[in-house]
């Protein structure tokens, strides 16, 4: 087996995450899908680090995790705020910014 399989797995997970973002309406699940996509990218980074014999990929994955954590905090805060005003967590509801 070749370590490249890890990269293919990451591509698969990324695509599933993308479908989740497009299909689900619950803002929290959309957020989870985004997290899945980030994790898929991390897996690819880790695999590439191993394949290239270089730790830089792991460092970048580490930073991605930090940024993802920050993003989750702010994103969830926004969802909570929207929920407070609209009593709904659907991302189709805030659609006033249109033609």
């Amino acid at each position: 087996m070749n370590p490249a399989n890890y990269v293919l797995l990451s591509a698969l997970l990324f695509s599933i995450g993308a479908i989740g973002v497009l299909v689900r309406r619950n803002a929290i699940i959309v957020f989870m899908s985004v997290e899945l996509m980030l994790n898929a990218a991390n897996l690819a980074f880790v695999s590439f680090a191993r394949m290239n014999g270089n730790l830089d990929g792991q460092v970048v994955a580490f930073f991605v995790m930090v940024v993802a954590a920050a993003e989750v905090v702010v994103g969830l805060a926004i969802i909570v705020t929207i929920f407070r005003t609209r009593r709904s967590a659907s991302i189709d509801e805030p659609n006033l910014l249109k033609y």
């Binding site: 087996m1 997970l13 940024v67 954590a69």
Partner: protein
């Protein structure tokens, strides 16, 4: 374990954990209930952590478990609780063609990526991280050496980012109090000043029956009090009548006489709520 080539043990780990990760991802997308989705993605993340460890990244594997499964997923669950645990999505798509297009694009995208990457990567050989890890004495030491030397500015910036994010979350969820909090005295004065009945309402009349909330309380003079019955019942006109025969029985009971149990059957005819 940390070599360039994948051994049999690692292959088994890969196929098991990889399969579980994909199942978790699919389950997350498919589940109707948000809580199920959260649990499925937690499964995916744990399996990803295993794959990190298998992939010569033990530090990242630990961080993945602690940060994602431990902190981020708990945050998700917490927010789910705030928003409403059983708020399940309806599965009817409202945007025309969105679901079909999303599925086509997603599947096509994954095929494209897997085909392209597979085509490009399968021929390459893997170097492995043994040399890189042993240079500093281990994986964690190696990462630390990189983070605090080459990536130190990025590290500082992410620190600032985290603090800013925390501040942002606080500001976003903070609700400003516009009026001073009322003291108990003020609340009490308000209650009396409104002119309505200040105290508790009388409880309904209680008889040893299945549901006695619809029975009005008897006042000392023998009449009934309407306010003792909850308002929705009053609105639905579900208040049970109290017939004169019963009142007579009560008086006899109060006077210590025995009563022939006969009149209650009649009273049941007037109410429908009890017969359910």
């Amino acid at each position: 374990m940390t070599g360039g080539e994948v051994g049999t043990g690692e292959a088994i780990v890969f196929w098991v954990s990889g399969t579980l990760a994909v199942i978790g991802a699919l389950g997350m997308v498919i589940s109707r209930k948000a809580v199920h989705s959260a649990l499925f993605i937690a499964l995916t993340m744990i399996n990803l952590a295993i794959l990190y460890v298998a992939n010569a990244a033990p530090f990242l594997g630990m961080v993945q478990i602690i940060v994602y499964t431990g902190a981020v997923m708990m945050l998700f669950l917490f927010v789910l609780m705030v928003v409403g645990v059983d708020s399940s999505d309806s599965l009817i798509e409202t945007i025309k063609g969105q679901r079909v297009a999303a599925l086509l694009l997603g599947i096509g995208f994954s095929i494209l990526l897997i085909a392209g990457l597979g085509n490009g990567l399968m021929e390459t050989s893997s170097v492995g991280l043994d040399a890189a890890n042993s240079a500093q004495g281990g994986n964690v030491e190696g990462l630390a050496a990189l983070i605090f030397s080459d990536f130190v500015i990025a590290f500082q910036v992410t620190a600032a980012l985290l603090i800013t994010a925390a501040m942002g979350a606080m500001i976003l969820t903070h609700r400003e109090r516009w009026l001073p909090k009322k003291t108990q005295r003020e609340l009490s004065q308000e209650r009396f000043a409104s002119g309505q009945h200040p105290g508790q309402l009388p409880p309904p009349g209680v008889y040893a029956r299945s549901n006695a909330v619809d029975t009005p309380a008897l006042l000392p003079d023998g009449s009934t009090s309407d306010v003792s019955v909850p308002e929705p019942l009053r609105a639905r006109a579900d208040v049970r009548e109290v017939n004169e025969a019963d009142l007579e029985d009560i008086r006899q009971i109060a006077a210590g006489e025995s009563v022939v149990d006969s009149g209650f059957e009649d009273a049941d005819e007037g109410s429908e709520g009890e017969q359910r």
